[in-house]
């Protein structure tokens, strides 16, 4: 007599911890979103929190299964049982959705924790590494140590993006397809990631002792020279000054990277291949950044070549515009070449 009541009561209380446990997970009422805010973030690594959450989920899953097993023993027939089952199925589906979201959040969080050791730096370390990136080392007989961190390189790439944006805005650069910000970000990140991967691949071919992380860090810190040069020459529009800085600061940072790579490679051919490629790409990138996004220089050059062109001379050929994303480089290179020719003729 009391037996039918008991499973019914069991159904109620079976639904109770199921629903109650679910409500414990959601804060802010009524949604299946696991809010990461309310996970206790005060520990350095949150693996313990995630483990705790997982444990709780597993316990509640066990409880839900036990409750479902109890309920299935009870009233399964009739209208009552059907309605009870429907609500239980809905609860079950919501539970599954919540669990899926929890595991997704867990995997996202785990990915962030993978990167955490690469950001473990002090400001003094970053400062010293920035300065060291401009000083080429003399000792190439044993492998030089490369700091494997990602904070400095990432901040330098973002700084380069900001400086590029500043330069493009100053010169009223017109971008045909795409946006200013997209172009700047694409160029800088593309260079950093793409050239790092390419040089890593070459290093693999040439049997050099360098890992991908170290290559990323090396090239990232090598962008410090680029940042300085571009920052100065986007504000002071002197052509000769740019060439001087290109050779001096660009050259110093390239020499540093080349020296580190040489110290980690064996064999003259391999050293030449690897370091030649890196030097060429690094220096040409600085040249490209200056000329592709800076239009003001063109006006100065137009005033240089005037009516004093002598009749018999070799006219430099127009360089076809193959560089992407701006229609200026062809004009720029042509103007530069013409100015060089004029200045050479005038001597």
């Amino acid at each position: 007599m009391a037996t039918p009541a008991a499973p019914a009561g069991g159904a109620r209380s079976g639904a109770g911890p199921e629903w109650g446990g679910f409500e414990e997970n959601i804060q802010g009422g009524g949604s299946a979103v696991i809010d990461m805010e309310n996970m206790d973030d005060t520990s350095g690594s949150s693996f313990e929190d995630m483990g705790e959450l997982h444990q709780r989920l597993r316990e509640e899953e066990v409880d839900a299964e036990a409750a479902a097993a109890d309920d299935e023993d009870g009233e399964f027939l009739g209208m009552k049982g059907f309605k009870g089952q429907l609500s239980r199925q809905v609860a079950d589906q919501m539970w599954q959705a919540g669990k899926r979201q929890a595991s997704r959040a867990f995997s996202l969080y785990a990915n962030i924790d993978i990167l955490r050791p690469y950001f473990d730096v002090e400001p003094a370390q970053v400062r010293s590494r920035l300065l060291e990136s401009m000083i080429p080392i003399k000792m190439v007989n044993f492998p030089q140590k490369i700091a494997g961190e990602l904070y400095g390189p990432l901040m330098l790439v973002f700084t380069l993006v900001a400086i590029l944006l500043h330069g493009m805005k100053t010169s009223d650069t017109i971008i045909r397809e795409g946006t200013l910000m997209g172009t700047a970000i694409g160029t800088c990140f593309g260079y950093w990631l793409g050239v790092s991967s390419f040089i890593y691949f070459l290093a693999y071919l040439c049997n050099a002792q360098i890992t991908m992380l170290q290559m990323l860090a090396l090239l990232g810190y090598g962008l410090f020279g680029h940042c300085i040069v571009l920052f100065i020459t986007y504000n002071i529009h002197l052509h000769a000054l740019f060439y001087l800085f290109w050779l001096l600061l660009g050259g110093l940072s390239t020499l540093r990277m080349v020296a580190v790579l040489v110290s980690r490679t064996v064999g003259p051919t391999q050293r030449l291949l690897l370091c030649g490629t890196l030097a060429a790409l690094h220096m040409l990138f600085l040249l490209y950044l200056h000329f592709a996004y800076h239009k003001v220089v063109e006006g100065i050059l137009d005033t240089l070549e005037g009516p004093n062109v002598p009749p018999m001379q070799r006219v430099p050929r127009d360089i076809p515009g193959v560089l992407p994303a701006a229609r200026l480089p062809a004009t720029m290179l042509n103007a530069t070449a013409k100015a060089l020719a004029v200045s050479l003729q005038s001597h």
Partner: protein
């Protein structure tokens, strides 16, 4: 017999209350706990609490949210070391500010020639992805702040720059010239410094003490990019 008497009783009583099904059968004694039935009215009362915010008028809801947003605006404009932005974070304020900024920064002309200005989507993406990047960076550096709290603070601290945008728009109605530019430069620089001060006041406590500079630098870059977009905006 008890079971036979029970089943018609079951069908007669309301079917969503199977708990009452066995009541007609049970003789009341001291052992039977009556608290089980008392919890049901309690549950319905809590359901009434939940639906009370659902049943209120839309105006009430909007005014309440707007008041919360306005209170946080005040906290940003006069930055003190307070926890309001961190404790009850919301993303309405950043959304309103971002949309306002992006709308005002849009170039009026649609022709492709002078297309060098930022579009709505560009500003939107810069603000939100910049904020996400800074948040990830501060978390990776060992910060104590949660993801959405950091987004909330960074979004709210765009308010001074939005005010600068409004002022620049008004100043640009006057005739252009170097004085015009100097005024706009001054306003943008002051608001930029204010934004950085406000966000540092909220975010600095969450970082380990020796790494504050590492966490503040990307915030500086982020607001610099936004300030640069505001300063170089010229309506065509």
């Amino acid at each position: 017999m008890a079971e036979a008497a029970e089943s018609p009783g079951d069908r007669e009583t309301a079917s969503p209350r199977p708990l009452f099904a066995g009541l007609s059968d049970i003789s009341i004694s001291q052992d039977i706990p009556i608290e089980g039935e008392i919890t049901i009215p309690m549950r319905s009362r809590s359901r009434e609490f939940d639906s009370s915010t659902l049943n209120e008028s839309v105006q009430n809801t909007i005014m309440r949210d707007l008041k919360a947003v306005g209170k946080k605006f005040m906290h940003v404009l006069y930055p003190r070391k307070s926890n309001t932005l961190l404790r009850d974070w919301d993303l309405w304020g950043p959304l309103i500010l971002c949309v306002t900024l992006a709308l005002m920064l849009q170039r009026g002309s649609v022709d492709g020639d002078k297309d060098g200005g930022p579009q709505f989507a560009e500003v939107f993406v810069i603000v939100w992805f910049g904020a996400v990047t800074i948040t990830l960076n501060s978390k990776l550096l060992g910060g104590n702040i949660s993801f959405f709290q950091s987004l909330c603070v960074l979004g709210y601290c765009i308010l001074p720059l939005t005010v600068a945008m409004l002022i620049c728009r008004l100043v640009l109605l006057a005739e252009p010239g170097p004085v015009n530019f100097m005024v706009r430069l001054f306003v943008v620089v002051v608001m930029f410094a204010w934004s950085i001060a406000a966000s540092t006041a909220f975010l600095a406590d969450s970082q380990p003490p020796n790494r504050k500079a590492l966490a503040v630098y990307p915030v500086f870059l982020f607001y610099f990019v936004i300030s640069w977009m505001i300063l170089t905006f010229t309506p065509q």
